[in-house]
């Protein structure tokens, strides 16, 4: 490499990071190609074509046989269904039948979701995947005052066995496998599912499906936990040991990287933290049973769940590397007897982050590309997102398109006619090895901290993911990462895509229906039995582990049969364990660093904040808040971090606040602006409540909203006093300046009046 270009490269920080790997691979760019490439590029350095991925793994313009791992290593990996399973967990994979099309869905009441499920099964979907509403996730009944805005909105409301019975009405649970995304209120929900199956005459042992039960990632990214980390891990262990003994066909845990990717993690972090989580769960289950349960009873019942985004090769490589690395790690740490304990089986979902509100029909194409990566990567089951999910809940129409995307891939192409089609590609084999090595380094870091539970307690994974998210957002805002129709190739005004319809949920109607059912439940049940079941749960929770008071899963099933509610069962444990609220800790500077510290637009924003301070005696001050049970705080965290980088004083409030609490915090801190981040459809109920509470207490703080808010709700929110709505794709510096402008106007108005 000529020295001049080397130094030019060194000045770019993103390149400096990956220089070590870089210099290894430039050595393998053949001279003959470099000469020709220079000529074609008219003197431009061919090295500039190397894509420096967020993972720190270079993606080169050309791979040759020199990039391949040693022939013996390739040979060792070559048979799918054999250790280390790089090419797939099964020998034939999907050459004789397609992967499982498993669409994640749930909304409103159990009755409405049931009708939706039955229609989907009739239309070719193979398994169910239940989305619960946030009230259920967080262990609250629908009549709890803290969850008014959340009931039935982002999933189906389940309070008791009555709802669970209705949810699976006329769906044979011994035949249809059911996946349930549940982590916080995992005990009552799984217990009610078991009890509902019993009512159908299906025994526990016959149940096939998956419960997510992955609490560690909740503490990192998704925040739908209930209890502090230590008792939460006890719950995980009790479920794993219970299902190992009584529900042999049920996957007791779905170790999920998906939510990490959604929160902004790159493929390396997603891969590393997910596998490290998996190791921690196996350890926990084996240790907590005191050796009574072996790794071979636990490991084969663990499944994985990855997100698949737009970086096509990287995603295929991620799935290949995941299988190989898991096999390697399991062998190293547990040396299991059964080969099944080494096999990583996974569900995948296309990326929700990659979906855009602008030009939403383009999302159909994005999802298709991502689905192809998942299938070529060898996923066992797949959810394809509906194109309108950046705007609102999917309609019957958009859900059918999403499902058809998979049906077309499975039936009209020959993609799955051959196992691991990318195997042997110079590029793919190199990328798989590089990504595996990069992830292994992160896992080593986690192990050095004492495993994933200790690492999560230290805050390290959360910090790394949040930093990755801030950098990703900055690359998009600065135009370094192109998103068609959003930051490039924007359509002319007249040729914009037609507006999409979204499914609207009548929040109040769902609450009313749930309240009626709760009343009916309480009227028909045996209160003494309820009391006894709940007391047994509290007693067991007060013991250090299940050897003292009995397995919590068994006790929860008894409580479900006794018609206890989700809220009552959760409270019985909360009495002993308390509720957990996470604290905010975000390293600053990542957003502005990635954007480019001397970037004109950043400078202009900081200057505007300074001008504001000079005029008003203090910096513009904003409270970034989330209301309701929506714990998706990536957006809020990135906003908080970026606004602080750009000269705001930023207050961050606790998650899961009510509108009254947010108003009080805004008033105490005397903020100029309250920024509400909403990802879960609660805005129409909660934001107007916030504004009226602020005004009632003589606060004139400006209220702005951001997140997933359908354009059709903008007018509704503005009429109720929201100053601005910043939808997906808003560039943060632009939003910051627009807020400062509005504030200047408002304050100037105050002064003159």
């Amino acid at each position: 490499m000529p020295p001049s270009s080397f130094f030019a490269l060194m000045r770019r920080p993103s390149l400096r990071r990956s220089l070590r790997v870089q210099s290894l691979c430039t050595a393998s760019l053949p001279d003959a190609w470099v000469r020709r490439a220079s000529k074609e590029l008219k003197g431009k350095d061919p090295l500039s074509l190397v894509v420096n991925t967020a993972e720190g793994v270079p993606l080169k313009p050309l791979y040759t046989p020199a990039d391949l791992p040693a022939a013996s290593a390739l040979q060792a990996d070559s048979i799918p269904g054999e250790f280390p399973f790089t090419r797939g967990p099964y020998a034939t994979m999907y050459t004789h039948r397609p992967w499982t099309i498993r669409q994640y869905a749930g909304f409103s009441t159990a009755g409405e979701s049931n009708a939706f499920y039955k229609a989907n099964l009739a239309a070719g979907q193979a398994g169910l995947s239940v989305a619960f509403d946030l009230a259920t996730h967080r262990g609250y009944d629908s009549d709890n005052a803290r969850v008014t805005g959340d009931v039935g909105m982002a999933g189906v409301a389940v309070d008791s066995i009555l709802d669970m019975r209705e949810l699976f009405h006329e769906i044979p649970l011994d035949k249809v496998s059911v996946s349930m995304t549940m982590n916080g209120a995992v005990l009552p929900v799984l217990a009610m599912y078991v009890a509902a199956a019993e009512e159908q005459g299906v025994a526990q042992a016959q149940l096939a499906g998956t419960i997510q039960n992955d609490i560690l990632k909740e503490f990192m990214v998704r925040n739908t936990f209930i209890y502090p980390p230590a008792p939460s891990m006890r719950v995980v262990a009790d479920i794993m040991t219970y299902t190992a003994a009584h529900m042999p066909r049920f996957n007791s845990i779905s170790v999920s990287g998906y939510h990490m990717q959604e929160a902004g993690a790159d493929a390396k972090l997603e891969l590393a933290f997910t596998l490290a989580d998996g190791l921690e769960y196996v350890r926990t289950a084996v240790h907590s049973s005191g050796g009574a349960i072996t790794v071979d009873q636990i490991a084969p019942r663990i499944s994985f769940f990855f997100g698949v985004g737009m970086n096509f090769y990287m995603e295929v490589a991620k799935l290949r590397a995941a299988r190989k690395l898991w096999a390697k790690l399991m062998k190293k740490h547990f040396d299991p007897k059964s080969e099944k304990s080494l096999m990583l089986r996974t569900h995948c979902q296309t990326s929700g982050w990659s979906l855009q509100e602008q030009e939403p029909y383009n999302n159909i194409i994005r999802t298709t590309v991502e689905a192809m990566a998942a299938v070529m990567g060898g996923t066992q089951s797949l959810h394809t997102n509906s194109f309108d999910e950046a705007i609102g809940l999917p309609t019957d129409f958009s859900a059918s398109l999403a499902r058809n995307t998979q049906l077309i891939l499975a039936n009209e192409t020959q993609i799955h006619a051959t196992v691991d089609p990318w195997g042997g590609s110079y590029m793919m084999e190199r990328l798989t090895e590089d990504l595996l090595a990069a992830a292994e380094a992160v896992i080593d870091e986690v192990e050095a901290l004492g495993g994933m539970a200790a690492a999560v307690a230290s805050g390290m994974p959360k910090r790394k993911i949040e930093e990755s998210a801030a950098r990703k957002q900055a690359r998009i805002d600065s135009g370094a990462d192109v998103i068609v129709g959003v930051n490039a190739f924007k359509p002319a005004a007249k040729s914009a895509q037609p507006a999409v319809e979204v499914r609207t949920i009548d929040n109040q109607a769902v609450i009313d229906a749930q309240l009626r059912k709760l009343r009916a439940l309480r009227a028909e049940r045996d209160e003494a039995r309820v009391e006894a079941a709940l007391r047994a749960l509290t007693d067991s929770a007060s013991a250090a582990d299940s050897s003292g008071g009995g397995n919590l899963m068994g006790l929860a099933i008894e409580a479900a049969r006794a018609k206890c509610t989700v809220g009552e069962i959760s409270d019985a444990l909360e009495r002993q364990w308390g509720r957990y609220t996470p604290s905010f800790s975000l390293a600053g500077g990542a957003y502005v660093d990635e954007y480019g510290r001397n970037h004109e637009e950043i400078d202009a924003t900081i200057a505007a904040a300074h001008a504001f301070e000079a005029a008003h005696g203090r910096r513009p001050r904003i409270l970034v808040a989330k209301m309701g049970q929506d714990g998706h705080d990536r957006g809020a965290n990135v906003i908080a971090s970026a606004f602080a980088d750009m000269g705001f004083d930023v207050d961050v409030g606790p998650l899961f606040a009510t509108p009254e609490e947010v108003a009080m915090q805004a008033i105490d801190a005397d903020v100029h602006v309250v920024g509400i981040s909403s990802q879960a459809a609660g805005h129409k109920t909660l934001v107007p409540q916030l504004i009226s509470e602020l005004r009632r207490q003589q606060s004139d703080a400006m209220v702005v909203c951001g997140g997933v808010i359908p354009a059709i709700d903008y007018e509704f929110l503005r009429e109720r006093g929201v100053a601005a709505v910043f939808g997906p794709g808003t560039r943060i510096p632009a939003a910051a300046r627009s807020i400062i402008n509005d504030l200047q106007k408002q304050l100037a108005g105050d002064a003159s009046s």
Binding site: F584, D645, V652, G653, P654, Q665, D668, D670
Partner: protein
């Protein structure tokens, strides 16, 4: 200044939005608002019930569990019928541009409790400026009816000295680290503490916490007590153990009762005021010096003469001081606009 009068009435009536605006006013860096802030303080201060109120400084290294303790302690104080304000100063929140204040996320229950007032402040500017603004914010809280005010600061250098200098009781938190832990705490800060609390005394850390507490007790015996009626004590606490929080709350109330009865509390406040007045006065004089008529011109003239050797900077400074004092004797209300 009709606005200020309205604002002061609303603060005294206990309206939290008014208190918040008042604090923004004393925190403002605009000279025009500085004047309004002075007026506000003049209006509200006579209504303050100083003898019923107690100001508690809580300090300790990052990660000691300050917010966790305040969350638990605050709950107890509220249950005992007090009204609590928490002023959080976080020097670590400093950023290139602005700041992030996440204190409320570490006190989720207090942050949701109407009986508590929580105000994080970005620590901007000089330490003296931060101290002045915090002290005035605390005064306003007391005028607004908050009889317990906790001033929280991260112990990174001089900020705890400033906090100790404006609070009635200074509580130092110490993490349970093994062996050399105590060497990390500066002697001067230990001397200021009225109570030292070793946190996280539970689980695996319990032996370490108990051992640190023993060492601290031995070390504190060597210091001369700052008050005649109060010997600093060392306690351990655990966020899992409500009893330990109740004991901390008891200790605080005991401190209040004892020092009030002995007169130590009033004496300490007087000493603190004495020092604060000197500090503020010096700062004020310094700030206004260049704008006193003739001073700037004199400085320039003496600078020219120093350069040619006709005078020296120290002689010139003496001459300027004499000049300023002479003009001050003619105009008793120096600099007052």
């Amino acid at each position: 200044m009709a606005d200020v009068r309205l604002l002061s009435r609303a603060i005294l009536a206990g309206e939290r939005a008014a208190l918040s605006r008042g604090i923004s006013l004393v925190e403002s860096r605009l000279t025009t608002q500085r004047e309004a802030a002075r007026m506000l303080l003049k209006h509200v201060l006579p209504q303050r019930s100083a003898s019923a109120s107690l100001r508690i400084g809580v300090s300790g290294p990052p990660g000691t569990g300050k917010s966790t303790l305040i969350e638990a302690l605050g709950g107890v104080l509220l249950d005992r019928g007090h009204r609590l304000a928490v002023l959080a100063i976080d020097p670590s929140s400093h950023r290139t541009g602005g700041s992030v204040m996440g204190d409320k996320t570490r006190m989720p229950r207090l942050a949701a409790d109407r009986r508590a007032y929580i105000r994080p402040s970005p620590s901007q500017g000089t330490l003296g400026g931060v101290a002045r603004r915090t002290e005035e914010a605390a005064l306003l809280c007391e005028c607004g009816g908050y009889d317990r005010v906790i001033v929280e600061t991260v112990g990174v250098g001089q900020s705890e000295v400033a906090v100790a200098g404006m609070t009635d009781m200074f509580v130092l938190l110490v993490p349970p680290s093994s062996g050399d832990g105590l060497q990390g705490i500066k002697r001067g800060i230990m001397e200021m503490a009225d109570a030292v609390i070793v946190t996280k005394c539970d689980g695996q850390l319990e032996p370490a916490a108990l051992s640190v507490a023993r060492d601290l007790r031995a070390a504190l015996k060597l210091f001369r007590p700052r008050l005649r009626s109060w010997r600093p004590s060392v306690m351990t606490s655990s966020s899992f153990d409500r009893e330990s929080t109740l004991k901390v709350a008891d200790l605080i109330e005991e401190f209040h009762a004892t020092t009030k009865a002995s007169g130590d509390l009033v004496r300490r406040r007087e000493e603190q005021a004495l020092r604060a007045i000197w500090d503020h006065a010096c700062a004020e004089v310094l700030e206004r010096l260049p704008s006193i008529h003739g001073v700037d011109e004199l400085v320039r003239r003496y600078a020219r003469e120093s350069a040619t050797g006709d005078t020296s900077p120290s002689l010139a400074a003496d001459a300027i001081a004499s000049y300023v004092l002479r003009s001050a004797s003619h105009a008793p209300d120096v600099g007052q606009s």
